[in-house]
């Protein structure tokens, strides 16, 4: 068992002092001399042809510096996946949802910019609009995109093994359906950006983004610039949850306004615009058939799903694949088929959100596991463990579980929740339920096809010898990645965390694909460790030379040089160091040679010590169409138990306790791991219980604020008992893998299974509002009375 000095502790986050004192700078805190304010003109109609745009009055308003439409922005199509680029910065011929961007204004004040917006005259020819999957797929329905007949954005058909044949051998077959509702990420910080060109033509875009790298590429492509002339920086970011994982039209408009005006331009979304832009979790409608033998052996899954996509593809093509692929585990299933489609309609586009694509499929499937367990009279945990994959197993769709603490997670929540005592012994109205889930630890491939490294890191030791500077383009968005990487660097270098400084979120620092698909701890973490090892080796090589000690006998621990065997006489080195520091009163006098001395000597011999690191996954996945989606170098696992009280008269559900065990491979920072677990649970509870973006019949969002869009409050949040399981992932740095998204997977089905346990009623639609639960109970009572 390795002993660690820095990782595997509860070190304080390195950004805590900034955030606790309010000194942390977010995009909207930044201000540049001569800065202009930009605003977007967005469509009031869900579907309309644009006949003309008259900007003359707006242009002439004093204080207005630029008004841009598609004429300035151009016609280059962009999006998330190059295979599905279907957006332009501004609508050209028509608008496809309420909020579709038409024009933008930059002016000397926000007030004037907003006034100018009202002076832009757009003539529309209104077109019939469709808002549901059902209406959009009807014969003769209005079509959103020319090249997508039937409003079909994407479809997937996959079969592994022989599902029909396997189902014929089953003793128990369960078919059920489930529908969730369109979500909003409800992050604290609304999207914002600040763009500026310098005198040599370098564009710097500061943005509240999860993915500086992808934004850099998209901006360069759309503005027709060299990637090297675009720098994207991310200051502190108030979360993203997937919604900020792609370039947004406001960022592009902001860059174009900066180009047109030669001035810094700042833009922000209002909360209403966050809802209008959307790009959060889709509404999924699943039908799953699961077949099992009477001893509980799972035989086959037949899965159909339809995604209510909205007006554009966004992440949708990846979402529709993820939805299918992540049912391949965590149980041994030889036969699985998936038929998925994503449909366009005149609502804002949906995209990726925590647990991308897989959350609702998991929510339905884990209920079927309980149905099967109930029918054969087996404990739900036992059924799951019976079918659980083992470490090293590969799913029927070629996902390899290189570490797999799933059964350990189940045992942990069984004990942690006192399951054996409670299950089956709760009074009516109280229930207990459990579920499992797993998620990727970084997408196996970048969003665009490339052999690029997924992350590069540079560590420079300061010339004085005291400090390691870590440079990474990764994105700290509140999850704690900066702290994790500083800890990994300190651990690998063998120095205290205090001696590490870290800068991140800047495309000038290298390539990093960013904060999505729970990739950074594993991928960026690898690159950090490699860069630190590289820098450390260079220091030790100099020492080996100077002290005539074999390199392999040298190590650095806790800021001191460790010698295997006898400590050689290093007084000459110390003297050399102290001579440089005459007058200093804190010169080293320790029995051991310090890292500071050693790294200073290394600089004196070799110049600046720079370590570099890089990471990309080995080739992953099978050869079939879509095989790449769902692949990952590692998978995090989790199991949860939910305990609920249902008010049988009102339908109100109170979540009393959640017990959550997560296998994160190795916790770099225990407190941060627990934070991600609790955050996932909170988001899962929100989606299960309250959250739903509601539209009127004109395609407008009715609850476009956080008063009416109901995320979990502290009063709704139950006690969460978090249990960290460590399976030591061979593909992870120090064995670490994801925790940020996998932990949301079991939350919804655990609650649904608990509500069933409390009421005897299966509810197949979210959220579990008191009203929905009340009528489900009433219907059930009526049925039982017959």
């Amino acid at each position: 068992m390795n002993k660690f000095d820095v990782i595997s502790t509860r070190a304080h986050r390195i950004d805590t002092p900034d955030k606790a004192t309010g000194q942390a700078m977010f995009t909207d805190d930044l201000c540049r001399p001569g800065q202009l304010y930009g605003v977007l003109l967005q469509s009031p109609h869900p579907h309309a042809r644009i006949l003309s745009i008259d900007t003359s009055k707006a242009v002439n308003l004093p204080g207005v510096k630029s008004v841009i439409t598609h004429e300035q922005a151009g016609y280059i199509k962009y999006g998330v996946s190059p295979a599905r680029y279907d957006e332009t910065v501004f609508a050209i011929d028509k608008v496809r949802y309420v909020g579709d961007e038409i024009a933008a204004v930059a002016a000397v004040s926000l007030d004037i910019a907003l006034k100018a917006l009202s002076l832009i005259k757009v003539k529309y020819e209104l077109l019939p609009a469709v808002f549901t999957v059902e209406d959009a797929t009807k014969k003769g329905a209005p079509q959103l995109h020319e090249n997508s007949p039937g409003n079909l954005c994407a479809e997937v058909h996959q079969e592994f093994g022989d599902v029909a044949a396997a189902l014929k051998t089953c003793d128990i077959i369960k078919t059920s359906t489930m529908k969730n509702k369109r979500q909003d990420g409800a992050f604290i910080e609304m999207q914002g950006c600040l763009a500026e060109f310098d005198n040599r033509g370098l564009l710097t875009l500061v943005s509240s983004t999860q993915v500086p790298h992808y934004v850099q590429r998209t901006v360069a492509m759309v503005l027709g610039m060299d990637v090297g002339k675009v720098r994207v920086k991310k200051p502190y970011v108030g979360a993203g949850f997937g919604i900020k994982a792609a370039a947004c039209p406001m960022e592009l408009a902001c860059c174009i306004l900066a180009r047109e005006t030669k001035k810094p331009v700042k833009m922000n979304f209002t909360r209403e615009q966050v809802f209008m832009y959307s790009r959060a979790r889709h509404q999924f409608t699943h039908t799953i058939t699961t077949g099992a033998k009477k001893d509980g052996t799972l035989m086959a899954i037949k899965h159909e799903c339809c995604l209510d996509g909205g007006a554009y593809t966004s992440f949708g093509i990846a979402t529709v694949y993820y939805t299918g692929s992540l049912l391949g585990g965590p149980y041994k299933i030889a036969n699985m088929s998936y038929d998925g489609k994503r449909v366009y309609n005149n609502k804002p586009a949906c995209g990726a959100q925590r647990g991308h694509g897989a959350v609702i499929a998991r929510a339905l499937f884990e209920q079927q596991m309980d149905m099967i367990a109930e029918e054969i009279g087996m404990d739900p945990m036992e059924l799951r463990i019976k079918n659980m994959m083992d470490t090293g197993d590969t799913t029927c769709n070629d996902l390899n579980m290189s570490s797999f603490g799933m059964s350990e997670c189940i045992e942990a929540v069984r004990i942690g929740s006192n399951w054996d005592k409670k299950k089956g012994n709760m009074p009516r109205g109280k229930g207990i339920g459990m579920a499992c889930g797993f998620f990727v630890s970084g997408a196996g491939y970048p969003i665009y096809r490339s052999d690029t490294y997924h992350g590069t890191v540079i560590i420079k030791l300061t010339e004085d010898g005291g400090t390691a500077l870590v440079y990474t383009a990764s994105a700290e968005i509140g999850q704690g990645s900066d702290t994790a990487f500083a800890m990994i660097a300190a651990e690998a270098l063998g120095i205290p965390l205090d001696n590490v400084r870290l800068a991140s979120g800047d495309t000038d620092m290298g390539v990093d694909l960013g904060a999505y698909s729970s990739r950074q701890t594993l991928m960026t973490g690898h690159a950090v460790k490699q860069a630190a090892d590289h820098a450390k080796t260079q220091v030790l090589e100099v020492l080996a030379e100077q002290l005539l000690v074999p390199l392999e006998k040298l190590d650095i621990k806790k800021g001191f040089i460790e010698f295997a065997g006898d400590t050689p006489d290093f007084s000459a080195l110390r003297t050399r160091y102290i001579k440089e520091h005459r007058g200093w009163i804190d010169n080293p006098d320790s029995k051991k040679l310090t890292f500071k001395e050693a790294s200073r000597i290394a600089f004196l011999e070799k110049g600046s010590i720079v370590g570099t690191g890089k990471y990309k996954p080995h080739n992953l996945g099978g050869k079939f169409k879509g095989a790449a989606v769902g692949t990952s170098p590692a998978y995090g696992c989790s199991a949860q138990v939910a305990e609920v009280t249902v008010d049988m008269e009102t339908g109100q559900v109170t979540i009393d306790n959640i017990t959550d065990a997560h296998d994160c491979g190795k916790a770099i920072n225990l407190t941060a791991v627990e934070g991600q677990m609790e955050g996932s649970v909170s988001m899962g509870i929100g989606e299960a219980m309250h959250e739903e973006v509601i539209f009127n019949d004109k395609g407008q969002v009715l609850n476009n604020d956080l008063a009416e869009y109901k995320i979990v409050t502290s009063v709704d949040m139950p006690r969460v008992k978090t249990i960290v399981v460590e399976s030591c992932e061979p593909n992870g740095p120090y064995g670490a893998k994801e925790v940020g998204e996998g932990a949301i997977m079991p939350t919804i089905p655990a609650i649904l299974n608990a509500v069933y346990n409390a009421t005897g009623v299966r509810i197949n639609e979210l959220p579990l509002t008191p009203e929905r639960v009340f009528f489900a109970i009433q219907d059930y009572k009526a049925k039982m009375a017959k």
Partner: protein, 295 residues
């Protein structure tokens, strides 16, 4: 979203405020806590050129006891009401309403007068004002009048306040012995809610005959305004306070006294069903409190 521009007035006395209101006319809006008004202004649901802030008028945020009544200034905040012993002791249903409104931050600013003037059918303090037989204290430059809260609301967002009038406070008669009251609200989550249904009930019984001698029930979110539930109240009179009669009152309130509508927050069908449950529960609790008060 930006606040529109307006002139900001901050009178220091009720007299000055009334003078301003008169001179600025109907367009001028009164600003108390601002937790509704500023949102409406931002969303352009209300426009005005003149905002008269009442927060400089100390007299409006006082809670004072008279012989048989308590006067609550219209600018008293939820937090202030909830932490005042005289309210806690005599008007627990009002305190419960104050505690349920919005969030901590909103409760620190939101005022009871603002809650009444906003006249939302779902307003958290309004059912309590109805069951405590509160009087609204209205004032113009020349005259004062007192209006029973039962006559105060005229529609969603509307009240009987005249353009030159200011709501200065409420007079709440102190409930006598052998009485109790309670308030329950139901929403999708446990805090920061806009109620789906909210109900307050007041009960008084004769300790000798053990019969109910006064019953008042107020229903929120199930009609154009917060309303009393007269048919349910009348079923209770003279009854022995026990589960059966509370249930019957709930059923009567559900069937006869409420007229909910469907909106995106919930269906009329559900609201109506919940009127029955919540009425029964508030009555049960009100009676428990009445009994425990006399022990």
């Amino acid at each position: 979203m930006l606040l529109p521009t307006f002139e900001f007035h901050e009178p220091l006395s009720i007299k000055d405020a009334l003078k301003l209101k008169k001179s600025l006319g109907e367009d001028a809006k009164l600003l108390a806590g601002g937790t509704d008004l500023l949102v409406h202004l931002k969303k352009k649901l209300i426009t005005t050129n003149n905002l008269i802030s009442l927060s400089g008028i100390k007299a409006l945020s006082l809670i004072t006891k008279e012989k048989n009544a308590v006067i609550i200034g219209s600018c008293t905040t939820m937090t202030q009401l909830s932490s005042t012993p005289i309210i806690q002791k005599n008007f627990p249903a009002l305190k419960a309403g104050c505690d349920n409104l919005g969030t901590h931050l909103i409760r620190n600013r939101a005022t009871i007068g603002g809650n009444a003037c906003n006249a939302s059918p779902a307003g958290d303090t309004l059912p309590a004002l109805l069951i405590y037989d509160a009087l609204a204290l209205l004032e113009t430059s020349d005259k004062k009048r007192e209006i029973p809260m039962a006559d105060f609301f005229t529609g969603p967002g509307k009240s009987c306040i005249q353009p030159d009038e200011i709501l200065t406070g409420f007079r709440l008669p102190i409930p006598g012995k052998n009485s109790g009251a309670h308030y329950i609200q139901l929403g999708k989550r446990k805090s920061s809610e806009i109620n789906l249904v909210n109900v307050a009930a007041f009960l008084k019984y004769d300790p000798d005959t053990k019969k109910i001698i006064d019953a008042r029930i107020a229903l929120g979110s199930v009609a154009a305004t917060p309303i009393r539930s007269p048919k349910a109240e009348s079923t209770l009179m003279g009854q022995t306070p026990e589960e059966a009669c509370f249930f019957a009152a709930g059923e009567m309130a559900r069937r006869e006294d409420c007229h909910p509508i469907d909106d995106f927050r919930g269906s009329a069908r559900y609201r109506q069903a919940m009127v029955g449950v919540l009425t029964k529960r508030t009555l049960t609790r009100a009676y428990e409190l009445a009994r425990s008060a006399c022990i």
